[in-house]
């Protein structure tokens, strides 16, 4: 390793990568799939003093399942995420969100780790990850930090990641047997569309499938970071579905967000759609729950 301009590293082992980061972390760019980075820098690549390419870190290209959680390597691509049987089975809306990213080319290059550290307010995987209570593993040569995903984002394209840290794994706790989820991405066309607004909702039920024990609603493209509407929890947890007022909850979501006007939608449109997709997601989850209950009744 020499400290030269335009230095390019492609280590085989994670400790080697962390050593490079501790030395040159402030100057060099970490590249995974490049589907955001290379677009961002396409006309000024000369500004990048050096590269740490993660392509040879096979450790980061695995999805591992144990009795309590699934660990997703940061280099897992959107296509792999979309097609993984484990993800489809336990975290269906993460799989669906991955399937709706960009185009086949972008899904084959782009990675889950890249989507997280890029920290776009419109990042398609971020809301489902927060709704599933994901934790992120941040490694540096001297320590290992595991933090809840929602604490990672501080603003548009801003995170708490330090120059000497590498996001290596995304850990998702296995959901209980009775877990329901719904996802809506609203864009102006069916592919290659940056979302105007997206909503991820995960509802966890008690063992007898009657009482709501967990409720997470997370939206993107309506705030500087992906945003959980925590007030929804109080309105749902400890209740049965028949005790939940869908209209009131949808109004709550509309009231709690203050999106901006931009090229993809007005503030007024985003608030209106937030309310409508919240009702849609509640109805979808309710109908899945009811269908599952039917054989028992």
């Amino acid at each position: 390793m020499k400290n030269q301009e335009g230095q390019y590293f492609s280590p085989q082992q994670i400790p080697e990568a962390l050593e490079i980061l501790s030395k040159y972390g402030k100057e060099i760019k970490i590249i995974a799939g490049g589907s955001d980075l290379l677009v961002q820098y396409h006309d000024r690549l000369y500004e990048i003093a050096g590269w740490l390419d993660l392509k040879n870190l096979t450790e980061l290209k695995k999805i591992e399942l144990n009795s309590s959680e699934v660990s997703i390597g940061a280099m897992i691509t959107h296509s792999q995420l979309e097609k993984s049987p484990q993800i489809k089975n336990y975290f269906p809306i993460l799989s669906r969100a991955a399937a709706e990213i960009g185009s086949p080319q972008i899904r084959n290059r782009g990675t889950i780790g890249g989507n997280i550290v890029n920290a776009s307010p419109a990042g398609d995987l971020l809301s489902p990850l927060i709704a599933y209570e994901a934790k992120l593993v941040l490694l540096s040569s001297d320590e290992k930090n595991i933090i809840p995903a929602e604490q990672f984002f501080t603003g548009p394209k801003k995170t708490i990641l330090k120059p000497n840290q590498l996001l290596t794994q995304i850990i998702l706790p296995l959901p209980p047997q009775n877990c329901y989820s719904s996802w809506v991405k609203v864009g102006k066309r069916k592919a290659l569309a940056i979302s105007t607004i997206a909503l991820a909702m995960v509802v966890k039920m008690s063992e007898d499938n009657q009482i709501i024990q967990g409720a997470k609603v997370c939206l993107s493209s309506i705030a500087p970071t992906p945003l959980e509407i925590k007030e929804v929890r109080e309105e749902m947890i400890g209740k049965t579905f028949s005790q939940v007022n869908f209209t009131k909850l949808a109004q709550l979501v509309e009231d709690k967000i203050s999106p901006i006007d931009d090229i993809r939608g007005t503030k007024e449109y985003r608030k209106e759609v937030a309310r409508r997709i919240m009702i849609h997601c509640l109805e979808e989850i309710y109908s899945c729950w009811r269908d599952k209950c039917l054989p028992i009744n």
Binding site: S103, V184, V186, K188, R189, K190, A191, L192, A193, I194, T196, I263, R264, G265, T266, E268, Y269, E272, V273, R276, I277, I279, H280
Partner: protein, 333 residues
Amino acid sequence: MKRFGRGIATIMFGFGYGEGFPDYSVASIEFAEDNKILVRTAAADVGQGVLTVVVQIAAEVLKVSPEVIRIIPGDTHLTKNAGSSSATRQTFFTGNAVKNAAQALLSNIYHYASIEFRSNYAELSVKGGYVFRVDQPNNKISFWELAQKVKEKGEILRAEASFFPRTNKPNPETGRGEKVYVAYTFVTQIAEVEVDTITGNVQVLKIYTAADIGKAINPQNVEGQIEGGAMQGIGMALMEEQVLKDGVTLNANLTDYLIPTAMDMPQFETCLIEKEDSDGPFGAKGIGEPGTIATAPAIANAIFDAIGIRFYDLPITPDKILKALKEQKDKKL
């Protein structure tokens, strides 16, 4: 909730520059030594297929297989003016120039062949690159042998022709005139859409097109032009919008200025009406721009059919639809 709607629109389109604007196309045809026929034309094929069309036209007139024809495309040293690939004019203008050149070449073939056969045109015919006497079909000379014999006389077997139609300016007071455009293409489209009342998104499910194009010289190309045109019409109806703020374009790139992708494509069903009623080659008329014009109004009518709301400015975006649905609901209450 998704609501279905169906809408229709009909257009007529006068193509070519028209209104007395000076416009013409030149083409020439000659024989190459490798048993090919060379068509020289500067008509720019930007994907619309004009060069395919002129190969077919030359082959049809000269009664040879299209594989025998080779094109020498636009080059200021090698070709003469064919005008622009715009105004839906190339099939009409260059198609006619090539047809005229092929006919002029055929007449030259008959002229020199009549000397060789000591016979006259009515007793001569051509097929597959040979000229022969009708009563003695085995007594034949290939076009290239004939070209060689002509060359030995110090002359050249080739032809050049142009197409130079006249159009007239309309009366400035009444807007009327005789033959203001070279011809008119008529198109009717029906759009079937689904309006998502949760998000305001519109999905175009199917587009039916009936196009009076005179004669489809290459039916597959005509359908391709109609489908491509309709996709542009869908963009115009639902997405494409230049957003300005204080004189600055906010979406001057294809990430933010959205056009439909393959994923937004509807099903197409196209019916071609061939009345052969124009002065175009074999009665053909232009289809470049006409394919795109009826789509947006057909979609706007389909949206009206689906949700009962009329929109008067394009594109009809999800935020406009949701706002209008909300106003419609408030009015009813």
